[in-house]
Symmetry: C2
Subunit: 249 residues, 2 copies
């Protein structure tokens, strides 16, 4: 019998009605949601002994929770409750605003900034002629210096020529558009899909290749309905979630 104290919500034993691995997973998920970020979880050995399951079964379930970003491991010290994911809601807001609202310091590393011929999809979304010039801004977005997202934005170069020269390590695109360039950002259409991260993307985001990511494709418009920018943003799946409030029509 293990001497680890029993946190609230941990059952005394497993039932016979469903697979042991799943029951363990549900127990650990219950702990993750009741304990705070950074709280230590019972050791693999303690869980295996308490519930009479193989150590491998415990490890496999913890591996999954680590892959999903609910738990993290520290070598030689055990498993801990991860920070909650950053949530994306239905208000149109910038990365800078989102991170500040959560008390994190937003940062950017500019990977590319130039004027290029609009790729076909971008030209269509921005309602531009094929191959019209667009300002392309590619940034690695960080929160408290941790990589969170890769963002590639395109804006019409004829309307926003100055953006090709702005220092985006320091500036927020939204602040520039709204405060300096007089743009009345109004709304956006967004598509979100789950994709596997390529080796290049994974390296920049400091995760394993093939790790799942959320890809947001956004077209934002001003008060006249004119497209202002098209952006493709790739967020780490283990650090980001979407929160929706749904109403029954």
């Amino acid at each position: 019998v293990s001497s680890t104290p029993r946190p609230a919500g941990m059952p005394r034993r497993l039932s016979r009605a469903s697979p042991k691995g799943r029951q363990l997973r549900e127990i650990v998920e219950g702990l993750v949601s009741s304990l705070g970020p950074g709280a230590p979880l019972p050791s693999e050995r303690a869980l295996a002994e308490r519930y009479g399951v193989a150590r491998m079964t415990v490890r496999a379930e913890l591996d999954r929770l680590v892959a999903e970003g609910q738990v993290y491991r520290v070598h030689g010290r055990g498993s801990f409750v991860a920070e909650p994911r950053v949530a994306q809601a239905v208000a149109l807001s910038s990365f800078t605003e989102d991170m500040r609202a959560r008390g994190m310091a937003p940062g950017s590393v500019v990977l590319a900034q130039d004027v290029v011929a609009a790729p076909p999809l971008v030209a269509r979304h921005l309602e531009l002629a094929p191959e019209a010039p667009v300002v392309r801004i590619e940034r690695l977005r960080t929160a408290d210096r941790t990589p969170m997202a890769l963002e590639r934005a395109h804006l019409p170069a004829s309307r926003f020529p100055a953006l090709a020269e702005t220092d985006f390590e320091a500036a927020s695109l939204y602040e520039l558009l709204e405060n300096e360039l007089g743009v009345d950002l109004r709304d956006a259409d967004q598509r979100v899909v789950a994709v596997p991260l390529s080796a290049d993307e994974a390296e920049l985001l400091e995760v394993e290749a093939g790790h799942p990511g959320l890809r947001f494709e956004t077209v934002a418009r001003d008060a006249e309905g004119t497209p202002v920018y098209h952006a493709t943003s790739l967020y780490r799946g283990d650090r980001y979630e979407i929160q929706l409030q749904q109403e029954r029509p």
Copy 2:
């Protein structure tokens, strides 16, 4: 010089300003969005010859588009534009309603249906006592017989005892709740995360293990604000997307 006709939106040549792989990707994405589902794409050889890039570069970009569900291959016949992903919007609706609205025939394979002690997370979301009895319904959801999602729903057994006996291969949970059981479903909170599919999940969904999925965690409430069900739904990342309309506050 290849004799393949040049679809609208395909540039004549690549620029020197950005990597060839990315430009090819943008060209093929443009074709995917302008051609209809099922339309053939130029062959790897034709693309490689036209743009003067290595066949391997073309294949690597097509591999990514296949992994993302934008393109599919038929052995010996080439690459084709995939069906658009099924979109999830902000209205609270059932899988059955979503698929019918898209002209697809919804189906279910019941994987488990029983009464169990509520797992800790479920008890908290349903505002039940720890280990209170809940009806658990696990289904593989299909659209036109293609696996789309794995869904695990829990409902309070004291309120809905009949659901443990209902034939869910034929029935819609929403129709039962609203039309037979007098429940006034009103709204739901939903969290969406990207996760890697486990080997078991991937096998049921007929994709590769590790393939990305969208996991929806939903708590639906009635007009009194009482939680009606808690559901965890795992959708194939290559077949599903979320569409959001955002407004600037």
